[in-house]
Symmetry: C2
Subunit: 214 residues, 2 copies
Protein backbone atom coordinates (compact mmCIF):
# COMPACT_ATOMS: atom_id res chain seq x y z
CA UNK A 1 0.00 0.00 0.00
CA UNK A 2 1.51 3.27 -1.16
CA UNK A 3 0.85 6.34 0.99
CA UNK A 4 1.95 9.62 -0.60
CA UNK A 5 2.62 12.69 1.53
CA UNK A 6 3.42 15.78 -0.57
CA UNK A 7 5.72 18.23 1.19
CA UNK A 8 6.20 21.87 0.26
CA UNK A 9 8.01 24.94 1.53
CA UNK A 10 6.60 26.04 4.94
CA UNK A 11 4.50 22.96 5.63
CA UNK A 12 3.88 22.10 9.30
CA UNK A 13 5.95 19.08 10.33
CA UNK A 14 3.52 17.50 12.80
CA UNK A 15 0.71 17.54 10.19
CA UNK A 16 2.77 15.06 8.18
CA UNK A 17 4.66 13.19 10.90
CA UNK A 18 1.68 12.36 13.14
CA UNK A 19 -0.11 10.39 10.40
CA UNK A 20 3.17 8.96 9.05
CA UNK A 21 3.91 7.48 12.48
CA UNK A 22 0.51 5.74 12.48
CA UNK A 23 0.06 4.74 8.83
CA UNK A 24 3.70 3.71 8.37
CA UNK A 25 3.06 0.94 10.90
CA UNK A 26 0.34 -0.70 8.80
CA UNK A 27 1.54 -4.04 7.39
CA UNK A 28 2.83 -3.55 3.85
CA UNK A 29 2.60 0.24 4.02
CA UNK A 30 5.15 2.30 2.13
CA UNK A 31 5.05 6.01 2.98
CA UNK A 32 6.49 8.16 0.19
CA UNK A 33 7.45 11.75 0.99
CA UNK A 34 7.38 13.67 -2.28
CA UNK A 35 7.65 17.30 -3.40
CA UNK A 36 7.93 19.49 -6.49
CA UNK A 37 11.54 18.33 -6.66
CA UNK A 38 13.25 15.53 -4.75
CA UNK A 39 15.49 16.86 -2.00
CA UNK A 40 15.31 19.00 1.13
CA UNK A 41 12.07 20.74 2.11
CA UNK A 42 11.99 23.21 4.99
CA UNK A 43 9.11 23.58 7.46
CA UNK A 44 7.18 26.68 8.51
CA UNK A 45 9.44 27.36 11.50
CA UNK A 46 12.56 27.31 9.25
CA UNK A 47 14.20 25.16 11.96
CA UNK A 48 13.66 21.75 10.38
CA UNK A 49 14.32 20.17 7.01
CA UNK A 50 12.88 16.88 5.75
CA UNK A 51 13.97 15.09 2.62
CA UNK A 52 11.50 14.39 -0.21
CA UNK A 53 12.62 11.16 -1.83
CA UNK A 54 10.94 11.78 -5.18
CA UNK A 55 9.01 14.25 -7.33
CA UNK A 56 5.23 14.55 -7.15
CA UNK A 57 4.79 12.93 -10.55
CA UNK A 58 6.93 9.95 -9.53
CA UNK A 59 4.11 8.81 -7.22
CA UNK A 60 1.11 9.54 -9.42
CA UNK A 61 -1.32 6.86 -8.26
CA UNK A 62 -0.90 6.21 -4.52
CA UNK A 63 -3.46 4.19 -2.59
CA UNK A 64 -3.62 6.97 -0.01
CA UNK A 65 -2.77 10.62 -0.44
CA UNK A 66 -2.34 12.73 2.67
CA UNK A 67 -1.90 16.47 2.21
CA UNK A 68 -0.43 18.28 5.24
CA UNK A 69 -1.13 21.93 6.04
CA UNK A 70 1.02 24.81 7.12
CA UNK A 71 1.71 28.45 6.34
CA UNK A 72 2.91 27.49 2.87
CA UNK A 73 -0.40 25.91 1.81
CA UNK A 74 -1.93 29.23 0.82
CA UNK A 75 0.95 29.95 -1.56
CA UNK A 76 -0.02 26.80 -3.50
CA UNK A 77 -3.73 27.48 -3.94
CA UNK A 78 -3.07 28.43 -7.56
CA UNK A 79 -0.10 26.14 -8.12
CA UNK A 80 -1.34 24.15 -11.07
CA UNK A 81 1.32 21.49 -10.68
CA UNK A 82 0.35 20.62 -7.08
CA UNK A 83 -3.37 20.85 -7.85
CA UNK A 84 -3.03 18.63 -10.92
CA UNK A 85 -1.13 16.09 -8.86
CA UNK A 86 -3.88 16.07 -6.22
CA UNK A 87 -6.61 15.71 -8.86
CA UNK A 88 -4.79 12.89 -10.60
CA UNK A 89 -3.97 11.00 -7.39
CA UNK A 90 -7.53 11.43 -6.15
CA UNK A 91 -8.91 9.87 -9.32
CA UNK A 92 -7.48 6.45 -8.48
CA UNK A 93 -6.91 6.68 -4.72
CA UNK A 94 -8.59 4.47 -2.16
CA UNK A 95 -8.39 7.28 0.39
CA UNK A 96 -7.86 11.01 -0.15
CA UNK A 97 -6.98 12.78 3.10
CA UNK A 98 -5.67 16.02 4.56
CA UNK A 99 -4.55 17.53 7.85
CA UNK A 100 -5.08 21.15 8.91
CA UNK A 101 -4.94 23.62 5.99
CA UNK A 102 -4.06 20.75 3.69
CA UNK A 103 -7.81 20.67 3.09
CA UNK A 104 -7.53 24.09 1.42
CA UNK A 105 -5.38 22.42 -1.23
CA UNK A 106 -7.86 19.56 -1.64
CA UNK A 107 -10.59 22.18 -2.03
CA UNK A 108 -8.59 24.26 -4.50
CA UNK A 109 -8.09 21.10 -6.56
CA UNK A 110 -11.87 20.63 -6.65
CA UNK A 111 -11.89 17.50 -4.50
CA UNK A 112 -14.13 18.97 -1.80
CA UNK A 113 -16.80 20.66 -3.96
CA UNK A 114 -20.00 20.53 -1.94
CA UNK A 115 -18.53 18.08 0.59
CA UNK A 116 -18.34 18.45 4.35
CA UNK A 117 -14.73 18.86 5.45
CA UNK A 118 -12.64 20.14 8.32
CA UNK A 119 -9.46 22.21 8.66
CA UNK A 120 -7.59 24.28 11.27
CA UNK A 121 -10.22 26.19 13.29
CA UNK A 122 -8.83 29.52 12.05
CA UNK A 123 -9.22 28.52 8.37
CA UNK A 124 -12.87 27.47 8.25
CA UNK A 125 -14.01 30.60 6.37
CA UNK A 126 -11.36 30.13 3.74
CA UNK A 127 -12.30 26.47 3.34
CA UNK A 128 -15.89 27.53 2.71
CA UNK A 129 -14.82 30.15 0.16
CA UNK A 130 -13.08 27.31 -1.73
CA UNK A 131 -16.32 25.36 -2.10
CA UNK A 132 -16.41 22.94 0.82
CA UNK A 133 -18.87 22.87 3.70
CA UNK A 134 -16.71 23.38 6.82
CA UNK A 135 -17.57 21.23 9.84
CA UNK A 136 -16.24 22.00 13.31
CA UNK A 137 -15.26 18.41 13.95
CA UNK A 138 -11.86 16.81 14.49
CA UNK A 139 -12.18 14.19 11.74
CA UNK A 140 -14.70 14.36 8.90
CA UNK A 141 -15.30 11.48 6.50
CA UNK A 142 -17.22 11.78 3.24
CA UNK A 143 -16.99 8.48 1.41
CA UNK A 144 -13.26 8.12 0.55
CA UNK A 145 -12.34 11.69 1.54
CA UNK A 146 -11.18 12.11 5.14
CA UNK A 147 -10.10 15.50 6.50
CA UNK A 148 -8.63 16.35 9.90
CA UNK A 149 -8.68 19.56 11.94
CA UNK A 150 -5.51 21.46 12.93
CA UNK A 151 -2.00 19.97 13.19
CA UNK A 152 -2.28 17.34 15.96
CA UNK A 153 -5.69 16.13 14.66
CA UNK A 154 -3.81 14.17 12.01
CA UNK A 155 -2.99 11.53 14.62
CA UNK A 156 -6.68 10.95 15.39
CA UNK A 157 -7.51 10.94 11.68
CA UNK A 158 -4.76 8.43 10.89
CA UNK A 159 -5.90 6.06 13.64
CA UNK A 160 -9.45 6.27 12.28
CA UNK A 161 -8.10 5.57 8.80
CA UNK A 162 -5.93 2.69 10.06
CA UNK A 163 -9.08 1.12 11.49
CA UNK A 164 -10.91 1.52 8.19
CA UNK A 165 -7.98 0.11 6.20
CA UNK A 166 -6.86 -2.75 8.41
CA UNK A 167 -9.50 -3.24 11.07
CA UNK A 168 -9.89 -1.98 14.61
CA UNK A 169 -7.63 -4.61 16.22
CA UNK A 170 -4.64 -3.51 14.21
CA UNK A 171 -5.40 0.17 14.74
CA UNK A 172 -5.52 -0.45 18.47
CA UNK A 173 -2.15 -2.21 18.32
CA UNK A 174 -0.66 0.81 16.57
CA UNK A 175 -2.19 3.12 19.17
CA UNK A 176 -0.54 1.07 21.93
CA UNK A 177 2.75 1.01 20.02
CA UNK A 178 2.91 4.82 19.95
CA UNK A 179 1.43 4.95 23.48
CA UNK A 180 -1.26 7.37 22.34
CA UNK A 181 -3.05 7.90 25.64
CA UNK A 182 -3.11 11.70 25.51
CA UNK A 183 -3.12 13.65 28.75
CA UNK A 184 -2.79 17.33 27.82
CA UNK A 185 -1.83 19.39 30.87
CA UNK A 186 -4.22 22.16 29.79
CA UNK A 187 -7.68 22.18 28.20
CA UNK A 188 -7.06 24.82 25.54
CA UNK A 189 -6.88 22.60 22.48
CA UNK A 190 -10.14 23.79 20.90
CA UNK A 191 -11.59 27.28 20.43
CA UNK A 192 -14.38 26.32 22.84
CA UNK A 193 -11.93 25.10 25.49
CA UNK A 194 -9.58 28.05 25.04
CA UNK A 195 -12.18 30.82 25.21
CA UNK A 196 -12.61 33.94 23.07
CA UNK A 197 -9.65 35.95 24.43
CA UNK A 198 -7.11 33.23 23.66
CA UNK A 199 -8.75 32.57 20.28
CA UNK A 200 -8.41 36.24 19.35
CA UNK A 201 -4.77 36.27 20.48
CA UNK A 202 -3.78 33.16 18.51
CA UNK A 203 -5.69 34.35 15.45
CA UNK A 204 -3.76 37.64 15.59
CA UNK A 205 -0.51 35.68 15.69
CA UNK A 206 -1.51 33.59 12.67
CA UNK A 207 -2.60 36.67 10.70
CA UNK A 208 0.64 38.49 11.55
CA UNK A 209 2.66 35.51 10.33
CA UNK A 210 0.64 35.48 7.09
CA UNK A 211 1.24 39.19 6.52
CA UNK A 212 4.95 38.81 7.20
CA UNK A 213 5.20 36.14 4.50
CA UNK A 214 3.05 38.07 2.00
CA UNK B 1 16.67 29.85 24.06
CA UNK B 2 18.49 26.99 22.39
CA UNK B 3 16.72 23.61 22.29
CA UNK B 4 18.92 20.74 21.10
CA UNK B 5 17.37 17.55 19.70
CA UNK B 6 19.99 14.89 18.92
CA UNK B 7 18.98 12.59 16.07
CA UNK B 8 20.49 9.20 15.32
CA UNK B 9 19.97 6.30 12.95
CA UNK B 10 16.59 4.60 13.61
CA UNK B 11 15.12 7.25 15.92
CA UNK B 12 11.31 7.56 15.99
CA UNK B 13 10.21 10.70 14.15
CA UNK B 14 7.19 11.61 16.29
CA UNK B 15 9.31 11.47 19.48
CA UNK B 16 11.24 14.45 18.12
CA UNK B 17 8.62 16.24 16.02
CA UNK B 18 5.84 16.36 18.63
CA UNK B 19 7.96 18.36 21.11
CA UNK B 20 9.59 20.40 18.31
CA UNK B 21 6.14 21.54 17.17
CA UNK B 22 5.36 22.77 20.69
CA UNK B 23 8.71 24.12 21.90
CA UNK B 24 9.60 25.71 18.55
CA UNK B 25 6.62 28.03 19.05
CA UNK B 26 8.02 29.52 22.28
CA UNK B 27 9.12 33.14 21.75
CA UNK B 28 12.85 33.26 21.04
CA UNK B 29 13.18 29.49 20.78
CA UNK B 30 15.71 28.05 18.38
CA UNK B 31 15.40 24.31 17.89
CA UNK B 32 18.65 22.72 16.70
CA UNK B 33 18.54 19.24 15.18
CA UNK B 34 21.98 17.73 15.60
CA UNK B 35 23.65 14.34 15.09
CA UNK B 36 27.02 12.61 15.10
CA UNK B 37 27.58 14.28 11.74
CA UNK B 38 25.57 17.04 10.07
CA UNK B 39 23.43 15.71 7.24
CA UNK B 40 20.66 13.21 6.61
CA UNK B 41 19.43 10.92 9.40
CA UNK B 42 16.94 8.14 8.67
CA UNK B 43 14.16 7.06 11.02
CA UNK B 44 13.26 3.62 12.35
CA UNK B 45 10.78 2.91 9.54
CA UNK B 46 13.46 3.68 6.89
CA UNK B 47 10.77 5.69 5.07
CA UNK B 48 11.74 9.17 6.28
CA UNK B 49 14.92 11.22 6.42
CA UNK B 50 15.46 14.39 8.45
CA UNK B 51 18.44 16.70 8.14
CA UNK B 52 20.71 17.36 11.12
CA UNK B 53 22.01 20.89 10.69
CA UNK B 54 25.11 20.45 12.86
CA UNK B 55 27.27 18.01 14.82
CA UNK B 56 26.54 17.16 18.44
CA UNK B 57 29.56 19.09 19.66
CA UNK B 58 28.47 22.21 17.74
CA UNK B 59 25.61 22.64 20.24
CA UNK B 60 27.39 21.77 23.46
CA UNK B 61 25.51 23.92 25.97
CA UNK B 62 21.83 24.16 24.98
CA UNK B 63 19.25 25.55 27.38
CA UNK B 64 17.10 22.48 26.76
CA UNK B 65 18.17 19.05 25.57
CA UNK B 66 15.51 16.67 24.35
CA UNK B 67 16.54 13.11 23.55
CA UNK B 68 14.08 11.18 21.37
CA UNK B 69 13.71 7.41 21.48
CA UNK B 70 13.41 4.74 18.85
CA UNK B 71 14.79 1.38 17.86
CA UNK B 72 18.23 2.92 17.41
CA UNK B 73 18.52 4.11 21.01
CA UNK B 74 19.71 0.75 22.29
CA UNK B 75 22.60 0.74 19.80
CA UNK B 76 23.89 3.92 21.46
CA UNK B 77 23.84 2.78 25.08
CA UNK B 78 27.62 2.37 24.95
CA UNK B 79 28.30 5.11 22.43
CA UNK B 80 30.70 7.25 24.40
CA UNK B 81 30.38 10.21 22.05
CA UNK B 82 26.57 10.49 22.49
CA UNK B 83 26.76 9.81 26.22
CA UNK B 84 29.50 12.42 26.69
CA UNK B 85 27.43 14.94 24.77
CA UNK B 86 24.42 14.25 27.01
CA UNK B 87 26.52 14.53 30.18
CA UNK B 88 28.09 17.78 29.04
CA UNK B 89 24.83 19.36 27.92
CA UNK B 90 23.11 18.27 31.14
CA UNK B 91 25.78 20.00 33.22
CA UNK B 92 24.69 23.47 32.08
CA UNK B 93 21.14 22.87 30.84
CA UNK B 94 18.06 24.49 32.31
CA UNK B 95 16.00 21.44 31.32
CA UNK B 96 17.14 17.92 30.44
CA UNK B 97 14.37 15.92 28.81
CA UNK B 98 13.59 12.75 26.89
CA UNK B 99 10.78 11.02 25.04
CA UNK B 100 10.18 7.26 24.93
CA UNK B 101 13.40 5.21 25.00
CA UNK B 102 15.38 8.43 24.88
CA UNK B 103 15.37 8.05 28.67
CA UNK B 104 17.53 4.92 28.28
CA UNK B 105 20.22 7.19 26.83
CA UNK B 106 19.83 9.70 29.68
CA UNK B 107 20.15 6.78 32.09
CA UNK B 108 23.19 5.32 30.32
CA UNK B 109 24.81 8.75 30.58
CA UNK B 110 24.24 8.68 34.33
CA UNK B 111 21.70 11.50 34.36
CA UNK B 112 18.91 9.40 35.90
CA UNK B 113 20.84 7.62 38.68
CA UNK B 114 18.34 7.03 41.48
CA UNK B 115 15.75 9.35 39.90
CA UNK B 116 12.16 8.56 39.01
CA UNK B 117 11.72 8.55 35.24
CA UNK B 118 9.42 7.23 32.54
CA UNK B 119 9.88 5.63 29.13
CA UNK B 120 7.93 3.54 26.61
CA UNK B 121 5.81 1.06 28.58
CA UNK B 122 7.71 -1.87 27.03
CA UNK B 123 11.10 -0.50 28.18
CA UNK B 124 10.49 0.01 31.90
CA UNK B 125 12.59 -3.00 32.96
CA UNK B 126 15.52 -1.84 30.89
CA UNK B 127 15.23 1.68 32.32
CA UNK B 128 15.46 0.19 35.80
CA UNK B 129 18.48 -1.92 34.89
CA UNK B 130 20.21 1.33 33.88
CA UNK B 131 19.79 2.85 37.33
CA UNK B 132 16.55 4.86 37.20
CA UNK B 133 13.35 4.23 39.11
CA UNK B 134 10.70 3.65 36.40
CA UNK B 135 7.31 5.28 36.97
CA UNK B 136 4.24 4.29 34.97
CA UNK B 137 3.26 7.88 34.35
CA UNK B 138 3.03 9.89 31.12
CA UNK B 139 5.30 12.74 32.22
CA UNK B 140 7.72 12.56 35.16
CA UNK B 141 9.56 15.58 36.51
CA UNK B 142 12.48 15.41 38.90
CA UNK B 143 13.84 18.91 39.39
CA UNK B 144 15.22 19.90 35.95
CA UNK B 145 14.90 16.41 34.44
CA UNK B 146 11.61 15.71 32.65
CA UNK B 147 10.94 12.38 30.94
CA UNK B 148 7.97 11.36 28.81
CA UNK B 149 6.43 7.94 28.13
CA UNK B 150 6.23 6.42 24.62
CA UNK B 151 6.32 8.35 21.33
CA UNK B 152 3.18 10.55 21.44
CA UNK B 153 3.74 11.41 25.13
CA UNK B 154 6.35 13.92 24.00
CA UNK B 155 3.55 16.32 23.07
CA UNK B 156 2.14 16.26 26.59
CA UNK B 157 5.63 16.61 28.05
CA UNK B 158 6.47 19.55 25.80
CA UNK B 159 3.28 21.40 26.73
CA UNK B 160 4.07 20.84 30.40
CA UNK B 161 7.59 22.14 29.78
CA UNK B 162 6.29 25.13 27.78
CA UNK B 163 4.18 26.06 30.81
CA UNK B 164 7.18 25.80 33.11
CA UNK B 165 9.38 27.86 30.77
CA UNK B 166 6.99 30.58 29.63
CA UNK B 167 3.90 30.34 31.82
CA UNK B 168 0.56 28.62 31.43
CA UNK B 169 -1.03 31.33 29.25
CA UNK B 170 1.56 30.91 26.54
CA UNK B 171 1.45 27.12 26.75
CA UNK B 172 -2.31 27.27 26.31
CA UNK B 173 -1.89 29.49 23.23
CA UNK B 174 0.49 26.94 21.72
CA UNK B 175 -1.98 24.15 22.49
CA UNK B 176 -4.71 26.06 20.65
CA UNK B 177 -2.34 26.82 17.77
CA UNK B 178 -1.70 23.12 17.18
CA UNK B 179 -5.36 22.34 17.98
CA UNK B 180 -4.32 19.72 20.53
CA UNK B 181 -7.74 18.55 21.63
CA UNK B 182 -7.08 14.83 21.26
CA UNK B 183 -9.97 12.51 20.48
CA UNK B 184 -8.49 9.06 19.88
CA UNK B 185 -11.03 6.81 18.14
CA UNK B 186 -9.96 3.88 20.35
CA UNK B 187 -8.95 3.54 24.00
CA UNK B 188 -5.88 1.36 23.54
CA UNK B 189 -3.15 3.95 24.17
CA UNK B 190 -1.95 2.52 27.48
CA UNK B 191 -1.23 -1.09 28.55
CA UNK B 192 -4.16 -0.83 30.99
CA UNK B 193 -6.54 0.40 28.27
CA UNK B 194 -5.31 -2.10 25.70
CA UNK B 195 -5.50 -5.21 27.87
CA UNK B 196 -3.03 -8.10 28.28
CA UNK B 197 -3.61 -9.80 24.91
CA UNK B 198 -2.84 -6.68 22.89
CA UNK B 199 0.11 -5.86 25.16
CA UNK B 200 1.57 -9.31 24.54
CA UNK B 201 1.06 -8.94 20.79
CA UNK B 202 2.70 -5.51 20.54
CA UNK B 203 5.55 -6.58 22.79
CA UNK B 204 6.19 -9.57 20.48
CA UNK B 205 6.32 -7.18 17.53
CA UNK B 206 8.82 -4.91 19.29
CA UNK B 207 11.00 -7.85 20.32
CA UNK B 208 10.94 -9.27 16.79
CA UNK B 209 12.02 -5.91 15.37
CA UNK B 210 14.86 -5.78 17.91
CA UNK B 211 16.05 -9.26 16.98
CA UNK B 212 15.91 -8.43 13.28
CA UNK B 213 18.23 -5.46 13.84
CA UNK B 214 20.59 -7.35 16.16
Amino acid sequence: MEIAIPLYDRFTALDAIGPYEVLGRLPGAQVRFIAHEAGPVTTDTRMLTLVAEARLEDVAAPDVLLVPGGGGARALLEDERMLAWIRGAHETSTWTTSVCTGSLLLAAAGVLDGLEATTHWAARDQLESLGARPAARRVVRQDKVVTAAGVSAGIDMALTLAGLIAGEDLARAIQLGIEYDPQPPFGAGSPEGAGPDLVALVRQGIDAAERERA
